[in-house]
């Protein structure tokens, strides 16, 4: 709207935490459980609904909740401000690099049965390959959402 109102709002969100102790305690107590759920959804994606995208969004939701309740300054220890974009690039790199690794070892692009891991038959190699690329998707989605939140707040 106008610049003064917006700056006031930004300052309130960036500097101080929310003063209500109920919100504070609830968010801080709830965040580890959301993170555990996110990790469960990511690692259990082979056996139940879930996978990289959903787990990444859950992890991002926990950190965004901490950002909203603690304020931007106090939540720097959990996820520093400069970290999300390099992490997102790392996630996309893990995905593309896995495909490229399979291609360098003789298969076609993203054919995980050619990954250079010893003592595994091709079916188990594909199992491991799916887990690795889900890790890449998780990291990319999580840090992209956190980065969008930070940039919207104008950090």
């Amino acid at each position: 709207m106008n610049e003064v109102n917006r700056d006031l709002l930004l300052r309130r969100h960036m500097e101080g935490p929310i003063v209500s102790p109920i919100v504070h305690v609830c968010c801080r107590g709830l965040a580890p459980f959301i993170q555990i759920t996110g990790l469960y959804v990511f690692f259990h994606g082979h056996y139940s609904p879930g996978g990289g995208f959903q787990g990444g969004v859950l992890l991002a939701a926990s950190i965004i909740m901490l950002r909203m309740s603690l304020g931007l300054a106090d939540s720097q220890r959990i996820m520093p401000n400069r970290l999300p974009i390099p992490l997102a690039a790392l996630g996309a790199l893990i995905y593309a690099g896995t495909g490229l690794l399979a291609m360098l070892w003789g298969g076609s692009y993203l054919d995980y049965s050619f990954l250079p891991l010893p003592m595994l038959d091709p079916a188990m190699l594909r199992y491991v390959g799916i887990l690795v690329i889900e890790l890449g998707v998780t990291i990319c989605v999580m840090s992209t959402l956190i980065s969008i939140y930070d940039n919207l707040l104008g950090s």
């Binding site: 996978g51 997102a88 495909g99 104008g154």
Partner: protein
């Protein structure tokens, strides 16, 4: 002008309803998407995935195998699109206070 809008929207809704009525029933084994071979007697991808997903990747969740293995390039594109959205937000909204 408003009458034309309403007419176009109503005709579009009628078209969608006719199409929805003539869809095959859910879970029909004889619908074209669920048959094991198409009209030219060739193989259909869905039947292959259902029969071979566990044998190929030792993963019980068929959706994960299709998303991450058979259609891995698609998911790569999805990840890159998410990353590109983040980078676009960074360059559009970044404010340097110092």
């Amino acid at each position: 002008m408003k009458a034309i809008h309403i007419l176009v929207l109503a005709s579009f809704a009628a078209l969608l309803m006719v199409a929805a009525v003539h869809l095959p029933r859910r879970g029909d084994p004889n619908s074209p998407a669920n048959r094991a071979e198409n009209v030219l007697k060739g193989p259909v991808a869905g039947a292959y995935y259902i029969q071979n997903a566990y044998l190929d990747a030792k993963t019980p969740n068929m959706v994960t195998v299709i998303l991450a293995d058979y259609r891995g390039f698609d998911t790569l594109g999805e990840t890159v699109v998410v990353f590109a959205g983040g980078v676009a937000c960074l360059y559009l909204l970044r404010r340097r206070t110092s």
